[in-house]
Structures are given as structure tokens and as C-alpha cells.
């Protein structure tokens, strides 16, 4: 077992365990904070996959942005001053059925993945990821990049529009 393997398994277990907490925890605040470890583990997986820029983006946007938003959302939509926050579940029957179906799906996919002979070709290890990404964003993917930036702008404005406090009209 080399170092990479140990690190991979460590983070894989971290991801799966914390994702399980996210999904199965009754306390929605626990879910939100467990998401932190999922995101962090995923960032570590990115580093293992030589995507350092993406790993840092993951930390910055997912943890510094989205997770904070989610925590705020949780706090604003529940009684925040108490520490026990429950989130409702569907009926037991439905949970069983969906759980079983998804478990079967996951296992099938897993088995399928491990049996499929993927066409793998190791790409040459990159010394610097940021400049190729930048170059690519501004050449091949320029349109998508611009569209994404417009989308972000619209999302900011739209979110502010939807969530802002309305004056009481009556």
C-alpha cells in the first residue's frame, strides 16, 4: 500500500461517512455541517487527481459560498435559537422503497464500473493547471464562460429580488 492509496481510502471513507451523515441525520444542522467534510474530502480527491486549481475552487465556492448559504438558509427557515432542529422525512414505506431501489442502482453501477474495461489513457501530469485552464476558458469555451458569467449575474440579481424583504402593502 503506497501513500496515495492510504490517502485515497482515508478521504473516500470520509466522503462516504460524512455524506451518510448528511443524508441520514435527523438534525438538519448536522447535515449542513457534515456537508463541510464531504466537500473537503471531495477537494482532497481532486488534489489526488492532479486538479489543484479545482480543489481550491471547490473549497472556496462550495465551503466558503454554498455551504454558508445553506447554513443561512437553515437558520432562516427554522427556529435558530434552539439547537435541536429536525427535518421531516417521508413515510417509512417510501423510504424503504427508494432506499432499496437506490441501493440496487448503486451496487449495480458499482459492479458494472468495476467490470467495464475502460479505455484509460494517462494524461501527462501537469505542472501548472491554472494557465491551461485560463487559456481554455478564454478560447475554446469563451461562449460558455460568458454565458456562465451572465448566469451568475442573473442569479445574484434574481436571488436578491426574490429574497428581499417586501414592504407590507396594507
Amino acid at each position: 500500500m503506497d501513500l496515495i492509496t492510504i490517502i485515497f481510502y482515508f478521504f473516500a471513507v470520509l466522503i462516504v461517512a460524512s455524506a451518510a451523515v448528511v443524508v441520514f441525520s435527523k438534525n438538519i444542522m448536522y447535515s449542513a455541517f457534515a456537508l463541510l467534510f464531504t466537500f473537503f474530502g471531495v477537494a482532497a480527491i481532486y488534489v489526488l487527481l492532479n486538479a489543484d486549481f479545482l480543489a481550491l475552487t471547490q473549497i472556496m465556492i462550495y465551503i466558503g459560498g454554498i455551504l454558508v448559504l445553506i447554513i443561512f438558509g437553515v437558520m432562516l427557515t427554522t427556529r435558530i435559537t434552539g439547537v435541536d432542529i429536525k427535518s421531516g422525512l417521508m413515510g417509512k414505506m417510501q423510504i424503504g422503497i427508494t432506499g432499496a431501489a437506490l441501493a440496487i442502482l448503486t451496487i449495480t453501477m458499482g459492479v458494472m464500473y468495476s467490470n467495464v474495461k475502460w479505455f484509460t489513457r494517462d494524461s501527462e501530469p501537469l505542472k501548472d493547471t491554472i494557465s491551461p485552464i485560463g487559456r481554455m476558458l478564454l478560447t475554446d469555451y469563451l461562449l460558455a464562460f460568458e454565458a456562465a458569467s451572465v448566469l451568475l449575474l442573473i442569479a445574484i440579481i434574481g436571488a436578491a429580488m426574490i429574497a428581499r424583504r417586501k414592504k407590507n402593502i396594507n
Binding site: I80, T81, R165
Partner: protein
């Protein structure tokens, strides 16, 4: 940037949870054991309910069991920041009841000490107000100067905080020989420090932003609530008992009544209340300088009085301009050596009652500043 107006309530459809917050009785900036029950909508204060009485010491009940001179140490402990000023109206009242004439020297010493104590009180008021805003260093500079003033008091009376110095018919002890030079040196020091404080704290942009347009108290509301002292003068009303109903020798001196005039914001905001205190220190310095010039150094400081002080049957209400406002004592004498009833008009008690009125609709941080700008002492609120 400074348009921090009173935020109008927009009772939005977001039923954002109202948070009830207990500020105090143990909180760094309630200036004692005051408990405020605050209802917050986010950070906006929607309701303030002061709960007082944590420091209640049954002052008025005690007075009924005490002889007249024994009451004075209890009075010291009302507004313990300006104990000299506290003693004065009480002593004046009994002297008026008994018809005692006070030697001129005593009156001058009392006046000088009262004004020095006014400076000391305002120093604490400004210092703690700065501390509420998070500025720690000016706090210590002002406390340093206050210690110099207290040293003078100590040389005269022996106490640094609670003096028991103004006695019926005179003073507890004579002042020391170098009294005049010492006082003048302190006046000089106070002026120097005040310059620094103005630059370091009062006219600092951040501080101005914190206090301007916050906690606006209109003059008519202030009068209706019975506010006095810098609180009402900050609202632009020149109500000063030293000018309006001159007692002692205040009519002999030339000084101005400082009023707030909305220097950086609206008239009657926290800045005005605070800056009134600041400029009053300068006026006190002027009074002290004039008094030092006129004061005789020779003479006795105590009238010959019977061993037991027995004012005739009667009632009197004496008031004086305390640093915090009008302090009055309603003394009812029944002819014995113990008072029938002493009712005190606690300045802070009255001033504090205005807090719920002026703090609604501001942010929680502003509530702390408003409380600081009223300058209360819980010893006087709870008595």
C-alpha cells in the same frame, strides 16, 4: 454614509423570529447591574424593558432610622461617581431648614469640589461611552486624569471615592495649604487631555458614525420624561439649575450653558449628549479658575452647631445641578434628630426611564451606545 436614520419597521411577511435577549444584569456595558430585556428582530431593537432594583439598598428606609449626619455616607453611595455633588443638596436643605449661614470660604470650597467632581464624573461618562464603542485607550487616559482629581479629594477629605466631606454647617476638614496650586495644575492637565481625547475619540470618524443620528431625543420628549442634565441639554434645551435657579455662588461666575446643536447629526443624538459633557468640562474649568481667584484661604470651615442636629418641623425640597442632572432631596423633618422621610430624586433613575422610548428601531449596537450616552449609575437608579 452617515444616513443611518431610524430604521422604520417594515413588518415583512418574513416572520423572522423575534429574539428575546437578556442584557445584564451581568453584561460588560450595562454600567452596573441593570437588566434590559430586549426584543430583537434580527439586529433591530423592537422593545426594551429595563428591570432595575438589583442594587436596591433601601436608602430611604435607612434614612428614617439614621440621624441627619449619618445619612451623608449613605448619600455618597447613591451616585458614587460624583459623591461630592450628591452631598450638596442634602446638606443645603438641612442648612436651609435650620437657617445656618455658611462661611464664604466653605461655600467656595464646596463649589470648587463640586465642579471638580463634575469634571471627574464627565471623564468617566465619556470614557465609558468610548469603551462601549470599543475604544479602550481613551478610557485609560481619562481615568488617569480622574485619579489626579481624586488625589485632591483625598488630601482634603481622606476618601478617594466616598467622601462624607460636606457636613451640615461646614466641611469635615480644611483643605491643605497648596490647594489652589494643586487645583490649577489639575485644570491645566484636564484641558490638555481633553484636546487629545477630542482628536483620539470624539471627532474620530468611526466614533462619529457610531453616535451621530443615534438615539435621537427631542427636547419636548426629554422634558416630559423629566430628563435633566446633559441628557436634556443635548436635546438643545438650556436647562441648567446653576443658571435657572442659582444656588450657592453660581451667580457670581461667568460660564455658559452648553447645549447640543446637532454638530454632526440631528439635535439630541448620542453625539450631542456626549459632546455636551465634553464642553461642560471646559466650563467647569472656567468656574474653578474664577472661584480659586475669589476664594479666601483663611477662616474656619465649620460652624458651631449643637451636638445633635435637630431641624425644626418642616419640609423642604432642595435641588442642585448634579453632573448627571437635577438631584433633589425632599426632606421631611419632624423636629427630632432623625428625619421623618427623605425622598431622593435620583437623576439616573429619571433619565433611565427614557431609554425604552429612544432606543426602539435602532440596532442592538446602538442600544448600548444610547445607554452609555444617558450615563447612568446604578447606585442612584436603585438607591
Amino acid at each position: 454614509m452617515s444616513e443611518t436614520k431610524r430604521i422604520e419597521f417594515e413588518y415583512s411577511q418574513i416572520d423572522s423570529e423575534r429574539m428575546r435577549l437578556n442584557v445584564g444584569p451581568q453584561h460588560p456595558s450595562t454600567h452596573g447591574v441593570l437588566r434590559l430585556e430586549v426584543e430583537l428582530d434580527g439586529e433591530i431593537v423592537t422593545e426594551v424593558v429595563p428591570h432595575i432594583g438589583y442594587l436596591h439598598r433601601c436608602f430611604e428606609k435607612h434614612c428614617e432610622k439614621m440621624t441627619y449626619p449619618q445619612v451623608i455616607p449613605y448619600i455618597d453611595r447613591m451616585d458614587y461617581i460624583s459623591a461630592m455633588n450628591n452631598e450638596w443638596p442634602y446638606v443645603m436643605g438641612i442648612e436651609k431648614l435650620m437657617g445656618i449661614e455658611i462661611p464664604e470660604k466653605v461655600e467656595y470650597i464646596r463649589l470648587i469640589f463640586a465642579e471638580l467632581n463634575r469634571i471627574a464624573n464627565h471623564q468617566i461618562a465619556i470614557a465609558t461611552f468610548g469603551l462601549d464603542a470599543g475604544a479602550f485607550t481613551p478610557f485609560l487616559y481619562l481615568f488617569r486624569d480622574r485619579e489626579f482629581i481624586l488625589s485632591i479629594f483625598e488630601k482634603a477629605s481622606g476618601g478617594r471615592l466616598l467622601y462624607n466631606y460636606f457636613w451640615v454647617g461646614g466641611l469635615a476638614a480644611d483643605v491643605h495649604k497648596e490647594f489652589k496650586q494643586d487645583v490649577l495644575a489639575i485644570v491645566k492637565q484636564v484641558r490638555e487631555t481633553n484636546k487629545e481625547i477630542a482628536d483620539l475619540l470624539l471627532y474620530n470618524k468611526i466614533f462619529i458614525e457610531r453616535v451621530a443620528n443615534v438615539g435621537i431625543l427631542p427636547a419636548d420628549v426629554a422634558i416630559n420624561y423629566g430628563c435633566s442634565g446633559p441628557v436634556v441639554r443635548g436635546s438643545g434645551l438650556a436647562f441648567d439649575l446653576r443658571k435657572d435657579a442659582p444656588y450657592s455662588f453660581y451667580d457670581r461666575f461667568d460660564f455658559d450653558v452648553i447645549t447640543g446643536h446637532g454638530e454632526v447629526g440631528t439635535v439630541g443624538d448620542c453625539f450631542d449628549r456626549n459632546i455636551v459633557r465634553f464642553h461642560e468640562m471646559e466650563q467647569s474649568c472656567r468656574i474653578i479658575e474664577q472661584a480659586i481667584e475669589q476664594m479666601p484661604m483663611e477662616g474656619d470651615v465649620r460652624e458651631k452647631l449643637p451636638k445633635k442636629i435637630r431641624p425644626p418641623k418642616g419640609e423642604i425640597y432642595t435641588k442642585a445641578e448634579n453632573p448627571k442632572g437635577e438631584l433633589g432631596f425632599y426632606i421631611v423633618s419632624n423636629g427630632t434628630d432623625k428625619p421623618e422621610r427623605i425622598k431622593s430624586r435620583g437623576t439616573s433613575f429619571v433619565n433611565l426611564s427614557v431609554l425604552p422610548e429612544i432606543s426602539k428601531g435602532y440596532l442592538f449596537a446602538d442600544l448600548i451606545m444610547i445607554l452609555g450616552s444617558i450615563d447612568i449609575v446604578l447606585g442612584e437608579v436603585d438607591r
